[in-house]
Assembly symmetry: C2
């Protein structure tokens, strides 16, 4: 059986779970404690990278970017990159940007300070960073809305890794209750569409000890 | 003619220049000012991502990760990922790690504070960050050495994107004169081998106004 080691509330682990489920690949999932990775993970991922996928033939693949490219190469059904070179370039360019700019301005400042630091027992949240993250919500949610006013999904008319990478980040910020959806109707339409997919359901059942999700987090109607 | 818009001292731009040259693909290069991207770049890269490659058929590809995957798909000669799925996964996993862990601990703290902030006119360097970056040199240079004591190149017996991504970062730190190579003989052997490749030569001629390179930066014997 294919096995994924992951930290359930992390955007990287969520991206991989969504990609596996969209490709209809069966997998077992083992949640890890970021403060003490199991020896099995450290043996197969010597640089301590999670998520770590161990495929059916025992090939280990560490890190969300490496895993998603590996899945596209080996399991091309339910293509998540696009068909033509220009489409694939646009999808990857969006994923690059979401994983650098949006992660830096928004996700690292909210999920990183409020939840990841607690999971890593890595000191108190930095309130200035949190304020800066809250200020960045507006621009990114408006960007999502504007993009989806033009096309059905972020990279075009098909669901792609760009939607999954973006939703994985948005979902952990939404878990914290930081998004006032009534202010972002177009982004809400996109998120509602992705949240109601079967691939998303397991993510809506995740919970972090001592920090329960916002009340609307698990609802398809939010 | 294929055209690359890039900031010459950035690790991302350097990675792409190395990949293009290793694949023996001809390209023109246009240096950009990070404080004012040319309108041609903003039209083709609306999220202001550089490096930006405009291929011979005018396909635009923005961001180093998207460009290197695009080049592997369209120009598979001089393969930089490896042949088998497990090799390709290991290369991509290394690149992920170098672009997150090494960039965060080392490159962002030295190149980011000393050079990028100046290029972006983005305030004074943070001396605490610089000290933390200097402290991180030892662990990463020893890791490079240990890896290359086991195999010829970072991901195996063939040069790969992992070597190019690592050398691109190391080269900008070496430009600043922060690496005392006599302390890292194995890493020095690896860097000497990559520095003497024809693909590397144009990088050794780069210079940033007001911040000239360390004396040994351009020498093949250093």
């Amino acid at each position: 059986m294919r096995l994924l080691y992951h930290f359930p509330l992390s955007p990287e682990g969520r991206l991989v779970r969504l990609a596996l489920a969209e490709k209809k690949l069966q997998f077992g999932a083992e949640a890890v404690d970021l403060n003490g990775l199991p020896p099995a993970v450290l043996t197969l991922s010597p640089r301590a990278q999670v998520p770590l996928l161990v495929d059916e033939d025992r090939t280990p693949v560490a890190g969300a970017g490496a895993i998603t490219e590996y899945l596209e190469e080996l399991y091309p059904l339910e293509n998540l990159l696009g068909t033509h070179a220009a489409e694939r370039a646009e999808t990857r360019s969006l994923v690059d940007w979401l994983n650098t700019a949006m992660a830096r301005d928004l996700t690292d400042k909210l999920y990183g300070e409020k939840l990841l630091k607690r999971a890593q027992r890595n000191g108190a949240p930095d309130s200035r960073a949190i304020r800066s993250g809250l200020d960045a919500i507006d621009a990114y949610l408006r960007w999502i809305g504007a993009q989806c006013d033009l096309r059905r999904w972020l990279a075009g008319d098909q669901l792609s890794l760009a939607d999954l990478a973006c939703a994985a980040q948005i979902s952990v910020i939404d878990y914290l209750g930081d998004i006032h959806w009534q202010n972002f109707p177009s982004a809400k339409t996109w998120y509602g569409r992705i949240k109601s997919r079967p691939s998303f359901r397991p993510l809506l059942a995740d919970s972090f000890p001592g920090l329960p999700p916002a009340a609307h987090y698990g609802n398809i109607d939010f």
